[in-house]
Symmetry: D2
C-alpha cells in the first residue's frame, strides 16, 4: 500500500498530498517508523516561504513521534543504550552528522558538520526512499539516527509540544550558561522563547522577564514561570519598552538576555537590556532575515559576550526528554501548547494556522 | 616653582603649555611623581578630536613612568606589596575605581565601575590639584592608585612602549582565551594589535596572521612573531583580503580573530574570518565610531562567541610588567616601538605625528 | 551600662558570662549593633574543642542579626549601596579581608586573604573594644564590614537559620558548578548539607540524593527537595550504602558529589560515588580532623575534579539573602531549622545541645 | 611469510619472539601496517610487572610509526581527512572507543569508554588476527582507528620520541588549563614530565620548575625550557625539597603543579607546593601503586582544584603532531630523547634498559 505524505513542491504554494511506494526493505541500521504525530514548526513556514536553501519537493516535518514498524539489522538499542523493538513509541534527533569532518572531530561542533542533514528539511522527496520527513504516514530513518524510546508516562503531546524549541534552548543555554541567581530577559514568547524561559527557570534564574505577545502567549509564559511579561502590542515603542523592562529587571540591565524572536531588529533592543559584562544569546536568528544598523562600540564598551547557537546535538534531545520525563508540570505545560490537531490531508491548512499566528502549536495526526 | 603641563583646552586645537602651582602638600595615600616619560596613545588623538565625552581643559597622558618625589602617609608598598620609597622609578594603573559599586562588588567587573576615572582623561585641569595627567612635569596620584616599582633591568622605554596596548590586550585575551594550538588572526598592527599578537604568541597560538599596515608596522609585526602578514594597502579589496587570509589560515577560518582596528567596518571582515564555533574579540572599538550594516544571522549560524573587553584592571598591569621583566626579547621589541622622542614643549607636534601615522610610537620627555 | 557576652575562656570549659565596657565612641566606618539573634554553628563546637587555632578568651558567634545602634562617620549605605540608618535590622559578612594582599589582589581568592579575620572566631575578647562576637548583647563592627539591611518580609529566623551553611554552599557550588540536569549526591544532612541540597535544587539538579541522618534531619532534607535520602544509621555498612546509593543515582555514579560531613572518612565514600569525569566538592573539611588512607590512582583513572572551597565572600551573602528574600518556601524551610531558643545567660547549654546533636539549630536571643 | 613479534607471555618473564600467520585479507576499514619503529613506554614495564589487568600473551607496543602495506575498503583518508594510500608513513591513536556508550555519548568523556581497547595493551595475542601490538613486524589496525599521515619533514624519531607522553600531557593540560603567566611545577622528568614541561611552556607558563632526576634527565629538562630544576637525588629530604622549590617559585606556591611521577607519595609533596586556590593535575597515577596517608582538610583549606586525566583522544594526537610539525626545536628535542635503538629480536633487552632507567628512551626497529 502506498504511503501518503504532504509535500512542499514549490515555495509559497499549497502543500500537496502525494503517494510514495511502500518501503519493502529496511536495510542494516535503518528504522521504519509509522508516524503518530508531527508538529508544525515556525521554521516550516520559513521553509515554505523559501527563506532557506532546501531541495524541493520536500516532505516537511522535523518534530515527530512514531512507532517502530521495522528495525534494520543491528538496531537493538536506542541512543541511550536502552533496548528497542517493534511497536515501541519513539522520537528521534532530526539531524544526522558525519562524525568525521573538521567540525565533528577536531572542533567538536557537530551542529556545524559539513554534511549535516535534517529530516523534514534536507531531503528531496523525489529521491528514493522518499520518506524522509514528518508530514507523512511513515518515515525511513537512516543508519546512525539517534532514537529515543519514550516511557509510557511521557505523552506524545508533550514531546511534540516541546518540539525543536526545547532542544534549541537547551543547546543555547549550554553555550551561554545562566548562573544560579541571574536575572534573565527572554525576547519572544513563541515555542523557542517559552522553552528558553523553562530552561532558564530550571537553571536557577532568580527572575525571568518575557517580552513578547500576543497576550495569550504571555499568559502561557506566566504559567511557565515568567516573573513578569511585557506585551509588545501594548508597548509598541522600543524606548518605552526599554524603560518598562528596566523597571522589571534593574537599571543596570539583565545578566543574560535571550533572543528568541527572529526579527533582526530585536538584537539592538536586546543588547541594550544587557548589563555591562553580561551576555546576549542570539538564538532566534535561524533564518537570514536581513541586516540591521549596528554599533560595535557597544560590545567593547559594555564588555559583552554575544553568543550564537545553531541547532542541537542528540545529547540535548536526551536532556529534553529527561526533563519532560521527570517533571510533570513542565511536560503538561509543553503538551498544552498544542491547540490545533489536523489530519495529514489538511497539512496545508495546518501550516497556514501557524503562518497566521492563529494557533498555539498545530500538529498533524497522519 | 610652577609645574608645566601640555593641556588640551579645546578639541581640535593645538595643545597649550600651561603652568600650575607646585604641589606643596602630599596628603595621606597620595604620591607625587616627577614624570620621566609619557607615551602618546592613539586614544589621545581620539580625545583631541572630541570623540569621547571628557572635561576640558585636560592634561592628557595615561602611559607613564616617573620617579617618586614624595609619598603621602601610609604609602609604603606598591600594588604587589613591595616597598616603595622616594626616588623609586614607578609606573601606575591609569584608572581608579570605587571598589563599592554594583560593578566593582556584585559583578566583579571593575572596569565598568560607575565612578571610574583615568589619569590623562577624566580630570579637569582647572580643578586643584590640577596635575592628573601624564603630559606634565609632575603628577599627583590619588590614594588607592595602583603603583608598580620598576626593576632596574626593565627600561622605561619598554614600559611606555608597551603602553596601554599591552594591558588592554591582556585583559581582552583573558576574557576571550586563546587555547594552546589555536589559529589566530589579528586585525590591526597598531600598538594594540602588536600587543595582541605578542600575547597570543605567549598564550600558545599555533599561528598568528596579522592584517594591517603600513608595511613598516607589518615588519614590526613579523619581528613580534607574526607567521604571516597581510598589507591592507597592498590588498585593498576586502573580498580579496578574505581570500588571501583564508589561504594563510584555513578555509574553515580562524579559531580566534582579534579586532584591534577601531574602524567599525573591520567587524564584518573579522567575523567572516572566524571559523564556525570560533570567537571574535572586539578590542578596538574603544571610541564610538558609528554604525555598520550587520547581519545577526551570522552569529547564530556560525555559532560564534563575540566578546568585548573594556580597559584593564591593576592585575593586568602586573601581568604586563611581569612579562616585560622576564622576557628580554619582548621588552626590546616593545621598547623599539618608540621611534620619536619630544620635549614637553613640543607636545602638540608629538600628537600630530601620531595623528598622521608618521611615527611608530611617540613619547614626551618632560 | 556594661555589655554582657558569653565567652569561651578555655577549651572544653563552660562558656562564661562576662561584662565589657559600653562602647562610648563609634569611630569612622564602624557600626555598633544591638544583637537580636545569634546562631550556634557546628563550627563553634569545633572551636570549643580547640580544633582550630584561635585566641582565647573569645566571644563566639558568627551567624548574626541585629539592629543598628550607632553608625560611624561615613557609613551611609550597606554593601549593596542601599541606605542604612539607626535602628535598621541588618546582618553582616562575618569575615573581613585586607583587599591588598597577594590572594585578595593578584589571585582574586579573598577567602584566603592572609589577614582575614572573622567575628566570633579571630578576636581576643581581652582586647578593646572586646565586642567582636555574636554571643553578646552588642557587637562593634569594623570599618569595611559588609552590611546588609534586611527587608521587612525576611525574618531574622530565616537569616540565622540559613546561617553560614548557606553562604558556604553557595561559594562551594560556584567553584564546582552544578550543570542543569546533573545528578547530585549530598553527603551530610547538617546545616551545610541542607543548604547544599537547596542550592543544588536551585541550580537545576535533576536529582539530589542525601546521605545523612538522623531520621529527623532526613525528613527535613525531604522537605528541602531531596529526591531520595539514605540514613547512615539504618545502613551503617559503607559498601552496602554504596550499593543503595548507586540504585538511587545510577551505576555510573553521580555527576557531582558534595561532601558536607566533616569526617575525613566521608571522602573515600564520596569519591567512589562520582561518575568518571565527575566532580567532588570537599566542603565539609573545614577543621583538620586527621588523615585517611587514600589512593590517588582513582583521581587519574576516574578522571575526576576534586574541588575545595573555603568560607565565602560578601557577594555570596548577597546571593543568599536574595534567595531568602525571593523564595518564601526556602526561607520558611531555613527558618524552621531553628528548633531551640536560648537566652544569652544559657549560652553554654545552647552550645551543648548542638554538640550533642539534640537540636535542629539552636540560637541565642540576647 | 610469517610475521614475527615480541610477546609478553607471562608477567616478569623475558619477552619471547613468536611468529604469527601473515595477514592475507584486509577487511573493510582495516589497515595493515609494516612497523617502522615502536617505542618502549614506561607503562610497558608496569604491564610486564603485572600492575594492570591485561590479557596475556600480549604483543606490547603502543607508541608506533609504520608504513601502510594495505588499505581495507573504505579507508581513503586519515583522521584529518587527508588522503592516505599504500606506502604512506603513518602513526595512529593507540586506543579505540565505541562511540556509543554513556561516556562516549552522554558525558563526552570517551577516554572512559566502557569498551575502550588499546593496541599493545588490551588484545590477547592468541586470538586472530594476533597482530595488535607495536613490538612486531606488522600490525593490523581495526576499522575506525584514527590514522595520521606524517609529513615528510616530521621524522619518525620525533613522533615515537614524543610518544604517549606528549598526548597524555596535552589532554591533562586541557583538563587543567595553564593560564598565560602561571608559575608551574612539574614533578617528574620522565617522558610525561618532559612533555608536560613542553606543553606548559607552549601554553604560556611564566616559569616552570621541574623536580626530578637523574641529572641527565634534568639536563634534558633544561633544554626543554625548564627555568629551574631540582634533583631529587641531590635533595632527598622532602621538607628540604619543599623549601628549595619554594625559593624557586614563591612562598605562596605554584599556580599549577603537575604530577608526572607515578609514585603515590608524590601527591602530598605536590599538593603542598600549590598556592591556595591553585590546581594540582594528577597525571602520573596511571597504575594503581597503592595508598597514601592523606589529609582532605588541605583541599578545603587551600581551596584547591585537584584534577585527573586519563589517556587521550584522537584530537590530542592531532594537536601533538601539529606541534611537532610546526616547531623544529620541539621535535628535535623529542627526537633526541631516543638514546637506544634495538632490533625486534632484542625486545626484552630493550625493555630491561627502560626498567633499569639506563636509557633516555629506547625504541625497536623491527
Amino acid at each position: 500500500m502506498p504511503v501518503r505524505a504532504a509535500v512542499l513542491a514549490a515555495y509559497h504554494q499549497p502543500l500537496e498530498i502525494r503517494e510514495y511506494p511502500e518501503i519493502s526493505h529496511v536495510g542494516p541500521g535503518e528504522v521504519l517508523v509509522r508516524m503518530e504525530m508531527a508538529g508544525i514548526c515556525g521554521t516550516d513556514v520559513h521553509l515554505w516561504q523559501g527563506q532557506l536553501p532546501i531541495p524541493v519537493p520536500v516532505i516537511l516535518g522535523h518534530e515527530t513521534v512514531g512507532r517502530i514498524e521495522a528495525l534494520g539489522d543491528g538496531v537493538e538499542v536506542d541512543w541511550r543504550g536502552d533496548p528497542v523493538s517493534a511497536d515501541d513509541r519513539i522520537t528521534w534527533a532530526s539531524s544526522l552528522v558525519c562524525g568525521e569532518c573538521y567540525y565533528c572531530r577536531v572542533k567538536r561542533q557537530p551542529t556545524r558538520c559539513v554534511a549535516r542533514k535534517a529530516y523534514g528539511i534536507s531531503y528531496c522527496a523525489d529521491e528514493a526512499p522518499h520518506l524522509r520527513g514528518g508530514y507523512a504516514e511513515a518515515i525511513l530513518l537512516r543508519p546512525g539516527t539517534a532514537l529515543y524510546r519514550l516511557p509510557d508516562h511521557l505523552p506524545t503531546e508533550a514531546v511534540v509540544g516541546a518540539g525543536c524549541g526545547l532542544v534549541t534552548a537547551i543547546h543555547g543555554i549550554e553555550r551561554c550558561p545562566i548562573e544560579w541567581g541571574d536575572v534573565v530577559v527572554v525576547q519572544g514568547s513563541g515555542p523557542v522563547g517559552l522553552a528558553a524561559l523553562a530552561v532558564a527557570r530550571e537553571a536557577g534564574a532568580a527572575k525571568v522577564v518575557v517580552i513578547g505577545g500576543p497576550p495569550h502567549r504571555l499568559e502561557i509564559a506566566r504559567r511557565f514561570g515568567a516573573d513578569a511579561v511585557i506585551d509588545v502590542g501594548a508597548v509598541p515603542d522600543p524606548e518605552e519598552r526599554h524603560r518598562v523592562a528596566q523597571r522589571e529587571i534593574s537599571p543596570h540591565g539583565a545578566d543574560v538576555v535571550i533572543e528568541c524572536v527572529g526579527h533582526p531588529q530585536a538584537v539592538n533592543e536586546g543588547i541594550a537590556l544587557c548589563r555591562d559584562g553580561g551576555a546576549y544569546l542570539v538564538l532566534g536568528q535561524y533564518a537570514d532575515a536581513g541586516n540591521i544598523e549596528f554599533n560595535p562600540h557597544i560590545i567593547t564598551r559594555k564588555q559583552l559576550r554575544v553568543i550564537g547557537s545553531w541547532g542541537f546535538e542528540p545529547r540535548h534531545v536526551d536532556k529534553a526528554l529527561a526533563l519532560l520525563a521527570r517533571d510533570k508540570q513542565v511536560r503538561d505545560l509543553f503538551a498544552s501548547e498544542i491547540t490545533h490537531h489536523f489530519r495529514l490531508a489538511d497539512a496545508d491548512r495546518a501550516l497556514q494556522t501557524v503562518r497566521n499566528w492563529q494557533s498555539g502549536k498545530s500538529v498533524l495526526i497522519p
